[in-house]
């Protein structure tokens, strides 16, 4: 395989990476705030709300993401004969799925914060919302950062599932090139790209964890 082809191949793969990264970033942008909402709903004193949220989490974690993507893309078609943008379907499916995982992680973090923190804030006149965002959430995030980092790195690899409804991303391009050239090289390069992205994320998370090490508790 000549050098020229390798350069061209890498270029094509990096274009695919852009799509994968778009999925990755948009999913995080939507699923993290959604995850906070899920965690709050899950802890709701209203039994109906918390039960519904728990069922949602169960479905999202208990069925393959692949199936969820297919359902979210094709269900509107089967039900109403409506088809819509595949990329949007992917973002919806990923965000809903990851919101469930993030929701569970945030919930465990929030519940691990001693009740005394809520009570101290209350006696100082903080509203519940202020207490949540100013006092509780920062401590919870520190505690769950390793779990969050796991999910985020899993998401990098999961973006390759987007090809199941025909979204052209890094891995699908690599596969096409591999078939085309009867070579495993495109797949190996794709693997290397995933690895590099994961390494960068690991470094960012390690750095953030260190930054939050300035206090204990």
């Amino acid at each position: 395989m000549e050098w020229e082809y390798l350069v061209k191949l890498t270029k094509i793969l990096l274009e695919g990476l852009q799509v994968s990264l778009k999925i990755f970033i948009l999913t995080l942008i939507f699923s993290i705030p959604l995850g906070i909402i899920v965690s709050v709903l899950c802890m709701s004193k209203n039994k109906i709300i918390s039960a519904f949220t728990k069922i949602y989490i169960l479905i999202m974690r208990g069925t393959p993401l692949l199936l969820q993507i297919i359902c979210i893309y094709f269900a509107p078609y089967y039900l109403f004969r409506i088809s819509y943008n595949r990329f949007i379907a992917i973002i919806i499916a990923f965000s809903l799925n990851y919101a469930a995982y993030f929701g569970e992680i945030f919930r465990s973090g929030i519940e691990s914060i001693p009740k005394g923190q809520w009570e101290a804030a209350f006696t100082l006149g903080f509203s519940k919302i202020k207490t949540f965002f100013i006092i509780i959430m920062p401590q919870a995030i520190k505690r769950v950062l390793p779990a969050i980092s796991n999910e985020v790195i899993t998401l990098v690899r999961d973006t390759s599932l987007a090809q199941v409804i025909g979204v052209t991303e890094l891995f699908s391009i690599a596969q096409k090139q591999a078939n085309f050239k009867f070579s495993i090289i495109p797949l190996l390069i794709a693997g290397l790209i995933y690895l590099i992205v994961s390494m960068i994320l690991t470094l960012i998370f390690n750095y953030t964890e260190k930054k939050l090490d300035y206090y204990r508790g």
């Binding site: 005394g116 923190q117 101290a120 209350f122 006696t123 509203s127 206090y215």
Partner: protein, 210 residues
């Protein structure tokens, strides 16, 4: 002038009566201690008047404001509680633990909040520790930060739950002076304690829960 008036409050947990028709008044500048055996409901009483537990019946009047169901923010600022475990906010520095309330609750500008907080902390003998974090403090220092934090809202009444339980004799002397000084400045003080000697020495009045 009375700043705290409790009228016949009742409180049960799971049908078990903990507080039964408790009434009490505390005046400006007065130090009142509550003593009693473990489990009689001393802490529960403090939690009730600070709005951390709902009362089943009775009235709590704080600075002439009747607390009905839930303590409102502005009434809440008139009464402060120094917890037995202090409950400082670990991710914030000593200074921030005090300024946070000033800035986020009382809407005071940051520079002004810093000035007020530094004054309060200096009074608590903590001028050198303003940039430390709670995990770096000794128990006595934590307690004094908790007091400064409570004072930030300029409450009329300050409640202490077991203020001497974790302190050595020298620090007990120090907290004694601090509480006396607060009462000299007109604060009404309500102390819950096991320490009968301390209660005897510091209080204008002692109430025994049975």
């Amino acid at each position: 002038m009375k700043v705290l008036e409790v009228k016949e409050i009742n409180k049960s947990f799971n049908k078990k009566k903990i507080l039964e028709n408790i009434s009490l008044q505390v005046n400006e500048g007065e130090i009142v201690s509550i003593i009693g055996e473990s489990g009689v409901g001393k802490s529960t009483f403090l939690r009730c008047i600070n709005g951390l537990e709902k009362i089943d019946s009775g009235e709590v009047i704080i600075n002439n404001n009747l607390v009905k169901n839930r303590i409102s923010k502005h009434i809440n600022l008139d009464i402060g509680l120094v917890f037995q475990e202090y409950n400082l906010f670990p991710q914030y520095s000593v200074l921030e633990n005090v300024t946070l309330t000033l800035i986020k609750v009382m809407k005071i500008k940051k520079e002004e909040a810093n000035r007020i907080a530094k004054d309060l902390l200096t009074n608590m003998n903590l001028a050198e520790r303003v940039n430390a974090y709670p995990f770096e403090l000794s128990g006595g220092e934590k307690q004094r930060v908790a007091i400064a934090r409570t004072l930030a809202t300029n409450p009329k009444i300050i409640c202490f739950d077991e203020p001497t339980s974790a302190l050595d004799p020298k620090l007990v002397e120090q907290i004694f002076k601090i509480i006396k000084e607060l009462s000299n400045k007109g604060k009404a003080i309500l102390i819950v304690t096991h320490d009968i000697k301390f209660a005897d020495k510091i209080s204008d009045r002692i109430i025994k829960f049975v």
